[in-house]
Structures are given as C-alpha cells and as structure tokens.
C-alpha cells in the first residue's frame, strides 16, 4: 500500500496527458497531407521551444554553483559516459532476443541530458546541496544540446543509414536544435527580461510541443504498424530493463561518491542529477533527430523511464531526509536539544537563566513547553511530520 501511495504521489500528471495523446494517435492517427502539416508544425514548435529554452537558461546559476567543479565533472560523467556505457552494454546483452526498436529507444534515453526541475526538488527534499544541483542540472542541459546529437550520431544508426550518412544528417539536424537555442541564449541580454516577464507562455510551449511531437510520432508509428510490432510483453520487458539501468547507474553513483570522498550533500546531487534523464529535452530532440516513423518507438522507453525515476527518487529523497534528521538529532546530545518538561526541570532551567517561574504560571508554562516540544519533534524528525 505504501508503494502504491508513493507511486500515486510521485505520478507526473503530464504523463497522463502523454498517455491520452498516445491513445488518441493510436485510434485516430493523422495521415497523408495532414500528417505532413502536423510534422511541419511540430518542427516549428520544437524550434520555438529550443529558442525559449536558450533564452531562459541562466548562466548566473551555473556560475554561482561552479565552485564544486569536481562534483559537476562526476555528474556530467554519469550522464554522458556512464549512462551511455550502461545503455550500450544492455543493448549488447539482450540484443539477440529483444525488440530492436525498443532497444534503440533505451539507448537513446541513455544519451540524454539530466532533468533540471525534479533534480533540484529531490535534492532539496533530501537536504542535499541545492546550489550545486541547480548548477549541475543546468550545465547538463546546456551541454546536452551539443553532446546528445553527437552521441546519437556516434552510437545510433538513424533511418538505417550507415554511420557516415547518419553523421551528416545528425549534424545538420543538430543545427535545427542548436541554432535556435544559441540564438535564444545570445539574445538573453536583450529579451531575457521579456521572457522572464512572460514565463507563462513557456510552459504551454514546452508541453504543447512535446504533445504535438508525440502525436505526430505515434501517428506515423501507428500507420507503420507499431502495435503489431510491440506487444504487452515488450512493454513489461522495457520496464524491467529501465529498472535495471536505473539501479546500475544509481548503485555506481553511490560507489563513485564514496570513492571520490564526496560529502553527503554532494553525493545526493550526484545521485539525483546523475541518474535522471530529461523527458522535456528528450522528446523534442527525438522529433528532430529521428525519422517520423521511428520517433514514437524511440520515446516510449523514455516515457516509462521518466515515471520510474520519479518514483524511485521520491522514495529515496524522503528516506535520505529522515536519515539526516535522525543524524542531526543524534549529533546533538539529548540534553542539549531537549526541553525541560517537568515542573522540577522547568524550575532548575529557569533558575539557571535568572528566572523564577511563579506558581500561578507553572501549569501554563508546562503546557507551552509540551507544545514547543512537539514542534521540536517535528523539526528534528522525531515526530511524524
């Protein structure tokens, strides 16, 4: 029951929208001229999305947290070296007997940048180093704009072409992402204020673009017969493989943090920023990097991995917080943090502070200290908060 509750609480409402869109595309796939139009609009939406992302990205956030360079290198290493290595190893391991289309999606997700918002949120809940998380996650997103298309070119064969042809196509497509992103970012001094004032338009563009790409992609995939090629067993296998990938990466990050001698707060940043993959970046990138008929299958593993990582991180973050609370309480001797509760303890403490508690006040003081003690319990994690 606890697991079910946690899953419900960590459920991303946007995922519900995505499932509805996948269902809609399966029942009513857009075809022919309409499909071409949808694809064109999706390309435009992606360009706008990356332009706005570039304009929104704050270099100041990166500069402010840049002091923890060793942590950032480890986080980037986890995202762009460890993850791809695990992705490639998994694909090689199960390649003989698994659906190759879904394995491509699994490999693709291993090449993506980390998430920003949820990495920061989970680091905060776990009482980790929030400033470093902001820097690490932002840096990962910035680098991903350049690096993910390159990694896709190196490790994935797009549209059945050979590596060289794929390289050319990916670099030209990468420009479709890079150019608007850089244009937006370079224009930040001019339009940053406008963007910050009109942030309300950014989320609909984010989400609208992703939904449009997913609808367009799944329409093409449905026309190409995706649901005849992918079975329920394939999806279950995908959940299993995603879980293995997440477990291996998280385990490796815990080990690396210990070997590198990271503090607890920094180790939490490595665990959360280094083990996550961004749906917001991944779906539109897939729309630009892969042929329409493949995008649906490519992003399916990402959608499953996205929910899985939210669930696992939510469970871990609250566990880390409880441990930190307990440690804080243990670090301070009980006598240092405990409140006087009995009339005798109150009288002794009061005397030590030059106070005498009048008899008429004693019942009220006892009651108030009981109330304050319950608040101390909540603060220090001694009570169910």
């Amino acid at each position: 029951m606890i697991g079910a509750n946690k899953l419900l609480r960590s459920w991303d409402p946007f995922l519900t929208l995505l499932i509805i869109v996948v269902g809609a595309a399966s029942l009513f796939p857009v075809q022919g001229t309409a499909a071409a139009w949808t694809k064109t609009i999706a390309v435009f939406a992606i360009t706008l999305l990356f332009f706005l992302h570039g304009a929104k990205l704050s270099r100041a956030a990166i500069v402010q947290g840049a002091g923890h360079w060793r942590l950032h290198i480890l986080t980037l290493g986890s995202t762009y070296v460890l993850f791809p290595a695990v992705g490639l190893a998994l694909v090689a391991l199960v390649g003989g007997w698994s659906n190759p289309l879904l394995l491509s999606g699994l490999l693709y997700l291993s090449l993506l940048p980390s998430t920003v918002q949820s990495s920061i949120a989970f680091t905060a809940i776990a009482r980790g180093n929030v400033a470093a998380a902001v820097c690490s996650a932002s840096l990962s997103n910035l680098i991903g704009i350049f690096l993910t298309p390159l990694l896709v070119a190196v490790f994935m064969h797009v549209d059945g072409k050979d590596a060289a042809a794929s390289w050319n196509s990916v670099t030209s497509i990468a420009l479709q992402l890079l150019a608007p992103f850089l244009a937006g970012h370079l224009l930040r001094p001019v339009i940053g204020g406008f963007i910050d004032r009109h942030k309300a338009i950014l989320q609909p563009v984010d989400r609208g673009s992703i939904l449009l790409v997913v609808y367009s992609a799944f329409s093409a995939a449905v026309v190409g017969g995706i649901w005849t090629k992918i079975s329920g067993a394939d999806l279950l296998e995908l959940v299993g493989l995603s879980a293995v990938m997440l477990a291996v990466i998280m385990g490796a990050n815990v080990l690396i943090a210990r070997l590198a001698g990271l503090s607890r707060d920094d180790a939490i940043v490595l665990l959360f920023c280094g083990s996550k993959k961004s749906l917001v970046s991944g779906v539109p990138m897939a729309g630009a990097l892969f042929p329409p008929s493949q995008v649906g299958v490519i992003v399916l593993p990402l959608m499953i991995f996205h929910q899985l990582q939210l669930f696992v991180c939510a469970v871990l973050a609250s566990r880390f917080r409880r441990e930190a609370d307990a440690r804080d309480a243990a670090d301070s001797p009980a006598s240092v943090l405990s409140l006087p509760r009995t009339e005798r303890e109150i009288a002794v403490t009061a005397r030590a502070r030059g106070l005498a508690v009048p008899d008429a006040c004693m019942p009220g003081v006892v009651a108030n200290l009981a109330l304050l003690d319950s608040h101390a319990g909540i603060l220090l994690g001694r009570a169910g908060s």
Binding site: A200, S338, G354, N368, H375
Partner: protein
C-alpha cells in the same frame, strides 16, 4: 468617500480640506461601533498635521500622494511624545519615544495623518487580539467573533470603514490572518523590505511591518511610500500562477479551494517541501527570540505580563539555544530550496486562514480534525511563508453577506509589484474585493 486615494485626490485638488477629513474621521471614531480596536486617539497631533497639509495645498506645493489621508498604527510603533507600549501595561508609563518610527515619518512626508494607535495581542504574540489591558478586538462583520491578530485593531478599524488604511506588523501572519478574518487587504512584504526602525520587536529575525487597506490601489500606494519605490505601470501582462497543495489544501475551507480554482483553473498544484517543519521551526524561533527579548522583564515581574502571553514567553525563555540554531539552519536551507523551486512562478495562491473568524466565546479552530486554540494556530498557512521571507498579499474573497475569508498571493523575493499587478486583475474580474460589514462602512455612511 472611503478609500485612501479618493481622499488624497480630493485634498490635493482642494475640493476638501485635510482638517475637515480629520474632524470627520475623529467623529467617526468617537461614535463608531465598540470594537476595542483603538488604544489611543491622537486628536491634537492629527489636527496639527492636517493644518500643515492644508497649508502646503494653499501654498500650491505638492502635499504628497497620501495628502490628508487619516490612518492608525498598531500599538508597537514609536510615536514621538508617547510611550511605546506594544499593547502591554508594563510599558504604559515608559519614557515617551523621542522620534516617530521611520514608517510613520515616511507616511507623514507623503501627507498622511496619524490619528490613532490600535489594539494588538500583547507584544504581538498571538493570532487573536485578546488583550488584558485593552480588551478583545471584535470583528466588524460579527462582533461576537475575533478579528484575528496580532494586528487585530489595525484590521478591524479599516474593515469597519473608520480609517482608510493602517499599519500592522507580521511575524508569523499577524497582518494576513486578521486581514482574512475581517475581509480586507493586508501585505506582509519581503522580509526586511520595509523600515523597521522604531518598531517594538517580537522575533526580530522574522518581524516585518505592512499596511492594511480597502483596495489594491490603496495598498500599493502606501507600500510605495513606505518602501520609497515607484511601481512602473505595465499593461497586458501575463502571470504564471501556481496553487499550493499539500498542507495548504488539507486545512483550507472548500470555499477557498473553489476560489483558487476559479481564479486560476489551469494553474499547476505545487507541493512545497517541509511545510510542517517550517511552521514548527518558526514557532520555535519566535518563542526563543520573544523569550530572550523579555527575559529581564520576566525576571523582574512576570505577573505584570498579560496572562495570555506570559506563560508562552517564559516557556520560550527556557528553550535551549542549540534548538534555536537548528531551526535557523533549517530556515536557511529551506529558503534556498524554495526560492529555486518557485523561480518559474510569478504568483502562488494559498489560503490565508484555515477558516472564518472563530467565536470569542469559544476561540478554537479545527486543525487536522482536532480542535486547537485559535490564538496559536490561526497562522497555520501564513507561518511557513513568513519563515521563507517571501512577500505575501492577503486578499479578501468577494462574499457579501457572509463572514470574510481571504487568500494569500505569494510572490518571489522583492517582487511585490507583481503581487499588486496580479491582485488588481483579480479585483477587476470581481473575484476579490472588500464586502462591507453589516451596516456598511462607517465613514461611507457618515
């Protein structure tokens, strides 16, 4: 004529004199309903200031944006020539303040006229304005109910229409709670955003001052004067809004939740982390700092304190310092985390109080299914916000004929301008606004 800007406009163009406004106001205060909202009426000072404003107008000079507007202050602001009592009989005979508090000085320079000091919980420690010396301040919407606190006098006097605006202080919600219960606007600014010189402290690391008023425009003008900042007008602006869930939704009235949905149906629901811990830490910090501030006076004569605050202050004085330090360390950590988490939103909506004003006869409210003392728990939704130092504007839901209820519009650090701009759009849409108490606003009737 009831709102501050309307009065100021009439005084500035010479259609009415400040002296007339002040006499009208003093007459209203003398014959108004018995609310126990006023502690001292400053008739001589008010008449003197009114003459000065009228002289400036007659000379053709600018009398300031609040010319001739009468107002009152919570009884913890220094007023030159009077003892600063903080609502306590202990300081009734204290040496008089040599200068006005800086906030009063800024308002005087803007033409506003101080006419009264106003009731509060002793030393601002409570959410009820139950004061042993001055009595319990009553809610103009139902005099059998509390006005909330600790700035209850400041809220009740404006809600009744006896003054167009007033000043209060807010440590854990002492402006927003009474604003919500009496159906008016109240602003807790960004922590440290308004001048605190000459203000009697409760818990210095959390204390702020702020205005109460009858409209967004009035409140914005007073804030501009107090902060020395002018807000540039921006038309057609869009706002990115979120609704706070979790603890904020668990102890809210269904009407508040419905209003939040009506205001921003598509706004995401955001769960801020560690809200219960934030409230507990704020409780401990307030108790510790309050206890430390009054320790010497408690040692001299504890029985001279108001029974309602005495035991709380003694308990606070006995808290261990490491616990206080742990609470402050947590505050720093949480503030940093929340600042990042809300960076993408302009405004967050939350309830201001968990319920309507409780009865004076039975001052308890339902929290998590159990009856709790209103004095300590009315600030359940305001306390965690003050803890992070974010600005929060309490706005009244428009509900004529029913007991008032308010929401908080919470903004980013230093971004009060956005809160005023967003509140103005809600006021225009008719979703928020002051609903007069039974019998109407007193000065409107007069």
């Amino acid at each position: 004529m009831k709102q501050a800007l309307e009065i100021a406009s009439a005084v500035r163009d010479g259609s009415v004199s400040a002296a007339w406004i002040v006499e009208d106001c003093l007459a209203g205060l003398a014959k108004g309903p018995a609310l126990n909202a006023v502690t001292r009426i400053l008739a001589d000072r008010a008449r003197h200031e009114a003459r000065q404003v009228d002289a400036v107008v007659a000379a053709g000079r600018d009398p300031g944006p609040l010319a001739g507007v009468p107002y009152g202050v919570k009884d913890l602001f220094d007023v030159a020539g009077l003892p600063t009592t903080a609502g306590s009989s202990i300081y009734a005979e204290a040496p008089p303040a040599r200068h006005d508090a800086e906030a009063i000085e800024r308002l005087r320079n803007a033409g506003a006229i101080l006419v009264a000091t106003l009731n509060m919980d002793e030393f601002a420690y409570g959410f009820a304005t139950i004061n042993a010396r001055h009595g319990t301040t009553r809610n103009p919407h139902d005099t059998d109910r509390l006005a909330g606190g600790s700035s209850g006098g400041s809220a009740a006097i404006v809600s009744a229409g006896l003054l167009p605006f007033s000043l209060g202080s807010d440590t854990n919600g002492s402006i927003r709670v009474p604003a919500s219960l009496t159906g008016i606007y109240g602003l807790k600014p960004t922590h440290g955003g308004l001048p605190m010189a000459g203000v009697f402290a409760l818990a210095e690391s959390l204390d702020d001052i702020g205005p109460f008023g009858l409209s967004v425009a009035d409140l914005r003008c007073v804030w501009e004067v107090l902060s020395g900042t002018a807000i540039a007008a921006k038309a057609g602006r869009e706002f990115r809004v979120a609704r706070l869930g979790g603890r904020f939704a668990e102890n809210a009235s269904p009407e508040q939740l419905a209003a939040m949905t009506a205001i921003a149906p598509d706004a995401p629901i955001v769960d801020l982390p560690d809200i219960a811990r934030a409230r507990s830490a704020a409780f401990l910090i307030t108790a510790y700092e309050g206890g430390a501030l009054h320790r010497e006076a408690l040692a001299r004569d504890a029985m001279a304190f108001d029974p309602a605050t005495r035991d709380r202050l003694i308990a606070g004085a006995l808290l261990p310092q490491p616990l206080y330090q742990a609470a402050q360390a947590f505050r720093q950590h949480l503030t940093s985390a929340i600042t990042h988490l809300i960076a993408d939103y302009d405004v967050m909506l939350a309830p201001a109080t968990p319920c309507v004003a409780p009865l004076i006869e039975d001052p308890r409210i339902l929290i998590d299914g159990a009856l709790r003392p209103a004095r300590a728990d009315l600030g359940i939704h305001t306390q965690p916000i003050s803890f992070t130092g974010l600005p929060s504007l309490a706005v009244p839901l428009r509900r004529p004929g029913r007991l008032p209820l308010g929401l908080q519009l919470i903004g980013r650090h230093g971004d009060e301008a956005t809160l005023f701009a967003y509140a103005a759009t809600l006021e225009e849409r008719g979703l928020i606004g002051v609903s007069p108490p039974p019998g109407g606003l007193q000065r409107e009737a007069a």
